[in-house]
Symmetry: C2
Subunit: 347 residues, 2 copies
Amino acid sequence: MGPMQGSAGSAPGRKTAMTVKDIARVAEVSPMTVSRVLSGGKNVRPALREHVERVIAEVGYHRNENARSLRPGQRSGLVGVLITNIGNPYYAGVVQGIEQVVAATGRRILVGTTNEDSDLERQLLSDFLGRQVEGLVVVPVGQDGDRFSAARLHDVPLVLASRTVERAPADAVLIDDVHGAREAAAIMLREGHRRVAFLGNKVTVSTGQRRLTGFRSAFADSGTAVDERLVVLGLQDAEASEHAMRELLTLADPPTAVFAANNRISVGAIRAIARAVADGSVAVPPRLFAFDSFDFADMAPIPLSVIDHDPAELGRVAARMLLSRLDGSAADEGARLVELPVHIVHH
Amino acid sequence: MGPMQGSAGSAPGRKTAMTVKDIARVAEVSPMTVSRVLSGGKNVRPALREHVERVIAEVGYHRNENARSLRPGQRSGLVGVLITNIGNPYYAGVVQGIEQVVAATGRRILVGTTNEDSDLERQLLSDFLGRQVEGLVVVPVGQDGDRFSAARLHDVPLVLASRTVERAPADAVLIDDVHGAREAAAIMLREGHRRVAFLGNKVTVSTGQRRLTGFRSAFADSGTAVDERLVVLGLQDAEASEHAMRELLTLADPPTAVFAANNRISVGAIRAIARAVADGSVAVPPRLFAFDSFDFADMAPIPLSVIDHDPAELGRVAARMLLSRLDGSAADEGARLVELPVHIVHH
DNA sequence: CTGTTAGCGCCTTCAG
DNA sequence: CTGAAGGCGCTAACAG
């Protein structure tokens, strides 16, 4: 009978989203009955329920989740994820893990990229809180713990992932950076290497700090001095790393071994070494240890050992910690710290 | 003067989010004035405005964006992104591009992973519509165009990214798969190769279909028959590809050249070839062409040509197309198709 | 089992 | 320049 198509508007008949009322009118019931059907159909006569369901399916109605979450006691079903750079396969893996676990609870993730920018991080944090996220998983940019205080976050649960922040009393999931780096350095020392380069990122990033700490502690353990000329920090990307590695290779007494503190740094270092070998300027490539794995670790053009771990697993663990706060199973336990084990792989 | 801390509740004083009313009470103004200040402070006495702003900053209030978007005419500031698998560096790049462009407009992205599951895709689509996304960027799973009809999407603008769908009248951004694959095949044919393997993914995925089409058309152009025994389709991951490649290498007359239709397939193929070379079972590795680039393309253990393109750029273009629908600058233009150029790189 | 009332946080409209 | 009223879509709580 007449137009059964889109919305119930009059003139162009579009743009006005459908509501429970529209469904109620078409189905000739009250909005409340529609609402009940939408929430599972308890306490609704089966025949009626089916009728309403048919109408809903026919017009392709979707309940407005935002309006729904406005009611007190309702959850938004949103989890905020703040990553420095999704383009980095490592963090992409972390997001994948988070999404997997979070989606299994019917929640969705809101993703923001901080691009290592502290101001942007603060802004995104604020925005996400405004969007009523139930919880947050954050790879923090700097060391400003204040912004992560429960007060600032209005008691929205937070899990720090991959990196931590000094004074932030939040749950955190880290890689066991210290042990991984120490073990790698110890292996190189046992192999007899003394001139060992350390290619690291910024020490304001906790992973940078922790990996350097582990590296140094292996040297301390063996009573060997770290050759400070071979410690290069602040490398932000593969290009910077490649450049730094090239420089090191031209030293009068170049390093016989190299520790690369993350995947981007490894890529750059490998490029520099492979090229130096190819053009004959280096006869025997330095022994290389890489933190984090990457696609072609097993096919690298030079021998390589990897301090490996699974970014997706880190994401999953972080998400589970967050969920345990949301469902109350970890009510007021105080900040928890998980350090995921690494395993060393020789290629 | 007494407790100035958290919310205004009485007993445990937590869990109840702050509202404009709370701010209004503290600032001793009406909620309307707070609202005005939040929207830029027009039509508010500067002194008063500053006062309210101070209160807002002090208590760390964030406007509830969900309630805000409930008002008619207000936008949710949400863009839905549906990706098959964020863990794949290629799609991670796409998401990065989308996020970059979308975030610049103050909007945020809701990310869902379909995991190549058509049902999950439909469910996520429905969920995102319920969350009032203003627009969608989707890497579609199958060929069911119905679910992407304007009616089903309630006129929410959609851009298909990387892959397309037959009967979906939506904007789409693709790689120029056909030309890229044709060019690659033509090069191999010109080099004199006749036994050329094609390692492809599912043909129900448009990239798979298009790349195979381009491949075949180069053969047709040169009057050469494709050796169908060397055409392997349906490869879902690097493992499957490695296995397929290994099989091909053991043929009595193995391929002298190989076309790998995407980055995961390339990784598997390279592994298989490199291993066969290493263990001596293959003397001279086949010539390899890879669609999509990856981290170590320039350092691959065997000679390699790449049909390269930038996933982040694809994401940016897709996001810009979407935004042009949102701000009305591309009002009712009908479905647009963009095919991004590829460039061939020899390593 | 079904409907009515009321209100979540915000902002457009209209008075003052 | 400021405030009061009303309603966006939805659903608890309370009738019937």
